[in-house]
Amino acid sequence: MSLLQIRDMTHFFGGLRAVYDFNLNLEEGELVGLIGPNGAGKTTIFNLVTGAYKPSEGQVQFNGNNLVGLRPHQITAQGIARTFQTIRLWNELTVLDNICIARASRIKYSLLDSILHGPKYRKEEKEIKEQAMALLAVFGLEKDAQELAKNMPYGAQRRVEIARALATEPQLLLLDEPAAGMNPGEIGDLMDFIQRIRQEFDLTIWIIEHQMRVIMNICERIKVIDFGETIAGGTPGEIQDNPRVIEAYLGEEVF
C-alpha cells in the first residue's frame, strides 16, 4: 500500500479551477518532485494535502486513513509535516521554542498539569526540551537555541523551519521551494542536507522547487502541472525530453 494516495483531487477557488483531477501515489522512502510554472497550483496541492484547504472533490489517504475534512493539526499528528514557500517561523519566539511548540500534538499531560507543573509535567517538558536540543544539534543550531527566530540569518531560518517540521515526527515531509533565495553554493549544501535528513529520519519527501538543478539531481520521480492539470510525470530524464513540459516552460531557459 502506498504511503500517500491522492485520487482525482480537484479544487475550486470560487469559479477558478486551481487544481484538476490530481493523482499521485507516494511510496515509502521515495523522493518525488512537483514542478510547474508560476501559478500552476503546486502550493495549492500542498495546502490541500495538509488540510489548510479542503478539496472540492477527490480523496486523500495517508497510511490508508482518509485525510479530507481533518483539521491541519490532526493531519500533522498523523505524520505529514511541511515547510513554507515564504518562511513562516514564529518570529518573536526563540529557536528552541519554535521547535518545542511543534511537538504540541505529542503532549500527553493535561491542561491542569500545565498549570500545576506537577512531576508528570516536568518529566515530559524535560523530554520535549531534550529532543528539541538533539534535533537542533543535527542541524548545527544548538548554540542558537535561545536566539529569537527573527534574528537568525536567512539560510539558518530555512534550516530552523525544516527542523520544526521534523520535530512533529513526520513520515512524509513536504518541502515548498526550500532553495528559494539561496545562492548556488547554498543550494549544493541544501541538496546534501535533504539527502542526509532523508536517511537519518527515514523520510519520504515530496518537494516543490523551481531550481531545476535541485529537482533533476535529487528526485527519483517528477510530476509536472500547469494550470492545475497534470501534464507529465516520470523520471528526470523523461521529463527533460517531454515536449509538453518544454511547451509549458517556453520562454524560460530551464534545462
Binding site: F84, L93, C100, I107, H117
Partner: protein, 347 residues
Amino acid sequence: MKKFYLPLIVLLLFVAVIGGSWLRLFNEYWELVLLFMGINIILTVSLNLVNGYMGEFSCGHAGFMAVGAYVAGILTVWLFADDKVFGLPVLPAAWAIPLFPVALIIGAIAAALVGLLVAIPSFRTRGDYLAIITLAVNYIIKSAIENMEVIGGPRGFVGMKRVMNGMADVFDAPWLLIWTFIGMIVTILIIRNFVSSTLGKGVEAIREDEIAAELMSVNTHRVKLIAFMLSCGLAGLAGGLFAHGPGGYINPGTFTILKSTEVMVMVYLGGMGSISGSIISAIGFTLLLEVLRPLGLYKWVVIPLLLVVMMLRRPTGILGNKELTDVFPRLRVIFGSKEESYVSASN
C-alpha cells in the same frame, strides 16, 4: 536554596498587608487602595493572556467581571444575608468563612462559561472583527443585567456588606483582603505556569502566525478556548472580589466599556506579553488614579495625556514583552530564570 526566596517574599508581603490591616495600621482609604491594586492585578494579568500573549483584541473584560461579580454576590447574599429578595439567610454566618472562596470560584466558572461566547467566534475571525464581537458581548451582559429586575436592574445589587460584616462578626479578620491577595497570587501563578508550558506557548505561536501554528500541530481551537476561558474566568474572580468591596454594592454601570478600557490601558502600559509588566502597571495605575484624585474630573485629562506621551516615547509599554528578570538579570536570584530549565535540560 534560591527556590525559597520568592515564596518567602510573597509570604512576608502577605503578613505585612494582612497583619497591617488586622492591627488597623492602615486607614480605610489605604485598605481600599490595596484592594483595588489586587483586583487590578488580577484583571490586567488575565487580560494580558489574550491581548498580549495571544495577540487577539478582546475589549469586553468588564463584562466577564460583571458575570463573576453578580454570580458570586448573589450566591453569598442568598446563602448568608438577610435580604429583601432572597429572604432570611439559608446557612449560618459561620459557614460563610469557608464557603466564601467557593462562591468566588463559582462566579469565576460562570464567567469562564460566558467566555465560551467569545472563544467560538474567535475561531473564525480575529483583529478588528473580534474586537467588535467582544465589545458587543460586554454590552449584552450589561444590558441583560439592567433588565433583570430581581437583582436590582439598573439600580444595582446590594447586601454583600452584610455578608462581609457577618464573617467579621464570627471571626474578626480582613477576609476580603486575604482572599484578594490569595486570588492575585493564584492568578499570577496560573498565567505564568500556563504560558511557560509547551501547551501554553501555543498561545504565542497563534499570535506570531496562526496558520503556521495550526499546520505545525498546535490545536488552535483548543488553545484559544483555554486562553479565553482562563482569562474570562479570572476576570470573574476579580469581579467576585470587587462585589464584596467596602460599599458592598454593584451596579451594571460599573462594568461598561470604560472599565474594559481601563484594564486594556493597564495591559498596554505594562507591556504586552509581560506578567511583571502587568503587575507593575496595575499597581502604578491604581496609585496614579489616587495621586491625581485632587484634580477631580481633570484627572481624566491628565491620565490619557500621560498615556499618549507614554505611547510616543515607549510604544511597547513599560517592559515590552520582556519580564523584569530580562531587564534586571540580578533579580533572577529571586525569581529564577527562563533559561534555567533549558540549562538543566541540556546537561
